[in-house]
């Protein structure tokens, strides 16, 4: 039954994120944009005790056997997360990315890890100091075409350890997870370069592992508060059972696909972040224009609207459309339905919409929009990343196109 209402309980929980966004993130937004590579401690220190407590409660439930694998009805955990991401990104998208949690790496462990692996890698997020998780797929020569990656993992049969060698770039939270905390990074590498996709496996590399080094911290257009690094792996040894899923090279590319499954949740997550920035820019534009007496009169016919009013209305429609596409992909996950197509749809659309909306905002606000005294120009810079990571817009369109046309990867390149 078609219904657009977010469950009340989840709405109430979102209020806490709203408070963090307003009271903690917004006041430091500009500070960490200018102080690139500094950790936003106001935010991380505020979030950690709360997230730690949540993890602790989750583990208590798992250990007491309270979590039943078969549930009745939708699982709204994912919706809660998506809502939180939207709100925190409204606060500041770069700072949001510094949330001390297992992040994308955690999603991979949860998606394909064994129960032992989950306990070994995830439980640390319920105790001690702040920690981060990361995921390293991209390489200098393997971006969109990530299956051509060259980082290798070779089994040393004497010690029963994997030896990882290679280079990864653009890794979000790479430094926070590997150097500045006892977190971990899920590193993708091939165990058989001739096997293509089938040879690609993911390995958990823990913080402080010898041989890992930060080769470079990137200087970026936006989301400057977010930690983005290049990683070098030189004879990095990890235990045999740090490989996620099966270590066999199968004929099929099942392992690769398993890891790809994390995209079903991470693409709506990126879309939600995009929507949060879009809403920030939209609200600020509306408020500022209202001070100048420009408020949309929805009872006017289209041809009596000014160009500014028309733009504003289109910004509203596109913001809303992206959010609804995101909520749809999210609700499919909650209902346990496949959302591969819809996850790419919302990601492609939201990344494009937020790029346009924030650019329009800077345009409509004139000198005020371009000024670094307000946040509009920053949101325009932050927005663009959503058109790029978790699959560029083109890559997501490719996925949508293959799906609607019934084409294989070979038929539509």
């Amino acid at each position: 039954m078609i219904n657009f209402e977010i469950p009340k309980k989840i709405q109430a929980e979102a209020q806490m994120a709203d408070m963090v966004a307003k009271q903690i993130m917004r006041p430091i937004s500009r500070k960490y944009d200018e102080g690139e590579h500094e950790r936003p401690v106001e935010f991380t220190n505020a979030m950690w005790p709360f997230l730690k407590q949540q993890e602790k409660a989750r583990w208590a439930k798992i250990e007491s056997g309270e979590v039943k694998p078969e549930r009745d009805g939708p699982n709204w955990t994912i919706l809660r997360l998506i809502l939180m991401i939207e709100i925190l990104s409204w606060g500041d998208a770069g700072i949001y990315l510094c949330t001390p949690n297992a992040g994308l790496g955690g999603a991979a462990v949860e998606a394909v890890g064994t129960p032992e692996q989950k306990e070994r890698y995830m439980k640390r997020f319920s105790t001690g100091e702040p920690k981060w998780g990361a995921m390293a797929i991209t390489e200098p020569n393997a971006g969109s075409d990530n299956s051509s990656m060259r980082t290798t993992a070779v089994l040393d049969e004497e010690t029963n350890e994997w030896v990882i060698n290679g280079e990864k770039v653009f890794i979000t939270n790479g430094k926070l997870s590997l150097e500045e905390s006892d977190g971990f990074c899920v590193v993708w590498a091939t165990i058989d370069p001739d096997a293509g996709r089938a040879g690609i496996k993911s390995f958990v590399v823990e913080g402080g592992t010898p041989g890992v080094s930060i080769a470079k911290q990137e200087h970026k257009l936006g989301i400057r508060a977010s930690d983005t690094v290049a990683l070098h792996f030189k004879d990095v040894r990890v235990p045999f059972d740090s490989v996620l899923g099966s270590p066999d090279v199968q004929k099929t590319s099942k392992g690769f696909k398993g890891a790809m499954k994390t995209f079903d949740a991470s693409r709506p997550a990126v879309a939600a972040s995009a929507v949060g920035i879009a809403r920030a820019a939209l609200e600020f534009t509306q408020e500022t224009l209202a001070e100048e007496g420009i408020v949309i009169d929805y009872t006017k016919p289209k041809h009596q609207l000014t160009a500014v009013e028309r733009d504003l209305m289109e910004m509203e429609a596109r913001y809303r459309g992206s959010w609804l596409l995101t909520l749809r992909a999210t609700s499919q996950l909650a209902f346990g339905e496949s959302n591969r197509l819809e996850a790419s749809m919302c990601k492609a659309r939201a990344g494009e919409a937020v790029t346009w909306i924030t650019q329009k905002s800077v345009e409509l606000l004139g000198p005020l929009g371009y000024s670094r005294e307000t946040l509009a120009e920053k949101w325009m810079r932050d927005a663009k990343i959503n058109d790029i990571y978790e699959g560029t817009k083109q890559i997501n369109l490719l996925i949508v196109a293959r799906s609607i046309l019934g084409y294989s990867r070979r038929e539509l390149k």
Partner: protein, 363 residues
């Protein structure tokens, strides 16, 4: 609780309408457009699906409760079949809907039962005026109270089926507000003018209507003394038209998608070229996004919330993207898209036309 799935009844309705659209509307719509007439049996069969009675309460002979969401679902499927035929079949809604939303108890009791009859009532509504600056909330046609009756004056255009209509709901400006009046055919001073010649939607005959001192009893003012809630009527109308736009977009998208898969150039289907494939992907996203925007506004209306902002921005946005998608569908077919043997050029004309229908209320 957040959910984007049709319930069982909605799915059944969608399937029924879709079957009709595919088996009947899609078979006749091209000829109907060229001849300017929709076959009677198609209209009859469409009416017999009974969308209107499913949205009217039992006391008036219906068997349901009105839901803007359910209506949008049906509307999309109808319009996927053909937009002009949809307007023809759902023409009676032009009167039924405003009466249901704004009529007095007496007016409802008097007028609504005929919409649950087997025979399609011959009624229509006159809102649009021939003005570039047309504003449904600031009409040029006037209504002036004179004793216990109203005098109506003005000129209307795009009035569907006016020639055969027995009753016309005329919208006019009374002291700066849009009000509606039930005008019987043959009223003195009511003049049905020339049949309109349009770029598209010609299967549905529309007429100019002139009102020269047409006198109607004050009892014929919709909503009695209080009048109508025009914004609410307009909102419902825009949702219905939005859903129709989604149906049109989807028709174009699906046709282009299937065509591109079988049209071979340079040794492979053109769908295998990214510039075509990506265009189709964007079209697919446009269709889904548009539908969600329509449904959200409709759902808000069903919850009794004010959805004026949502409805307005949805309609204006869809006006743009429905024409864009229709154009992209045509582009996908290349030269064949320009040829009248193929449906897509008509869909482009209809999409353009749809943006000019504003405030023509339909359930």
């Amino acid at each position: 609780m957040l959910d984007f799935r049709l319930d069982e009844e909605q799915q059944m309705l969608a399937d029924t309408v879709h079957r009709f659209a595919e088996e009947k509307m899609r078979k006749e719509f091209r000829e109907a457009e060229e001849l300017g007439k929709i076959p009677d049996d198609v209209v009859k069969a469409g009416w017999e699906i009974g969308l209107l009675p499913t949205g009217l309460p039992e006391e008036y002979g219906g068997f349901g409760e009105y839901s803007a969401v359910t209506n949008a679902i049906a509307m999309e499927e109808f319009s996927w079949g053909d937009f002009a035929t949809t307007l023809r079949i759902l023409g009676p809604n032009l009167v039924a809907m405003p009466v249901y939303l704004s009529g007095t108890d007496e007016q409802k009791a008097h007028y609504l039962p005929m919409f649950c009859d087997e025979a399609m009532p011959k009624v229509t509504a006159a809102l649009t005026e021939k003005a570039i600056q047309f504003d449904p909330r600031n009409l040029k046609s006037t209504a002036v109270l004179d004793g216990d009756s109203y005098l109506l004056n003005g000129a209307k255009t795009l009035v569907p089926l006016a020639k055969d209509a027995e009753l016309i709901l005329v919208y006019a400006n009374e002291n700066g507000e849009t009000q509606a009046f039930l005008v019987p055919a043959g009223s003195e001073g009511l003049e049905i003018g020339a049949k309109g010649k349009w770029m598209g939607i010609n299967a549905l005959p529309t007429y100019e209507v002139k009102l020269n001192d047409v006198r109607v009893s004050a009892a014929n003012k919709l909503g009695g003394d209080a009048g109508i809630d025009f914004t609410q009527i307009l909102n419902h109308s825009r949702i219905a038209l939005g859903a129709a736009a989604v149906g049109l977009m989807r028709a174009g998208f699906e046709y282009a998608r299937d065509y591109a898969k079988q049209r071979v150039q340079f040794g492979q289907p053109v769908a295998q070229y990214q510039s075509i494939a990506f265009m189709l992907a964007e079209m697919a996203i446009d269709v889904d996004e548009a539908r969600l925007l329509v449904w959200e506004a409709a759902w808000m209306m069903d919850q009794g919330q004010d959805a004026t902002a949502e409805t307005t921005r949805m309609k204006f946005y869809l006006d743009d993207i429905s024409v864009k998608v229709a154009d992209q569908a045509l582009q996908t077919l290349g030269g064949y898209g320009y040829i009248r043997e193929y449906p897509v050029e008509l869909w482009l004309r209809n999409a353009r036309g749809l943006t000019h229908f504003d405030g023509i209320a339909m359930i």
